[in-house]
Symmetry: C2
Subunit: 102 residues, 2 copies
Amino acid sequence: METIGQILRNKRQTLGLLLRQVSAYVDIDQAILSKIERNERKPTKEMLDKLAEILKLDKDELLIQFISDKIAYEIVDEDCASKVLKVAEKKIKYLKSHPIQN
Amino acid sequence: METIGQILRNKRQTLGLLLRQVSAYVDIDQAILSKIERNERKPTKEMLDKLAEILKLDKDELLIQFISDKIAYEIVDEDCASKVLKVAEKKIKYLKSHPIQN
DNA sequence: TTGTTACTTGACAATAAGTGTCAAATATAG
DNA sequence: CTATATTTGACACTTATTGTCAAGTAACAA
């Protein structure tokens, strides 16, 4: 089970790219990319898109990993975590089928 | 499908309690409670516990509603929302079975 | 009308959280 | 040792979130 940071780092190294090269393409400081790869900072969606491009990763898949990472860390310490996910799913379905309100 | 705010407001009114009374018990400004009930602000866990007490709601159930609300609103706009939840669940199971790292 | 009660709203300051930049500190390899 | 790659931490800056407060609306009674 890889974190988003691990995915990015692994793929970058597989492709033989340097932090400097990738960060230049994404147009961020390489310190930031270093932190993203170690899950110390979170990428924005723009960064994710650019990263997916240069690292030849599937954009949607990367986004899914990113968001699910965030959620997982948000609730992993709750002992009701799996119940939370079930209820959240119901709420989302409800919200999607009742698009106007709020 | 009720939001956390609706749950709190409904139960308070059922019990015939005033914002003033409940907010005094929870030890917060009644403006804050008003906003919580309209989902304009999020309660802390301490507030939730106190609210569950005075409103005779199940503490764990309330927490689940609270967190799932947060998550639902976080990802409802993603069209990959349900995939996200599935991946998140896997990640949580993984994290719980590998407790030491990070 | 006038007054009272319950609730809502918005402005405000204080605090916390997140951001990018940079230079110095560590590796890692040649 | 030297050079290159990466990490770290301090810093200033912006953005979010917070509690407090006073003024606002709305409903109703006197």
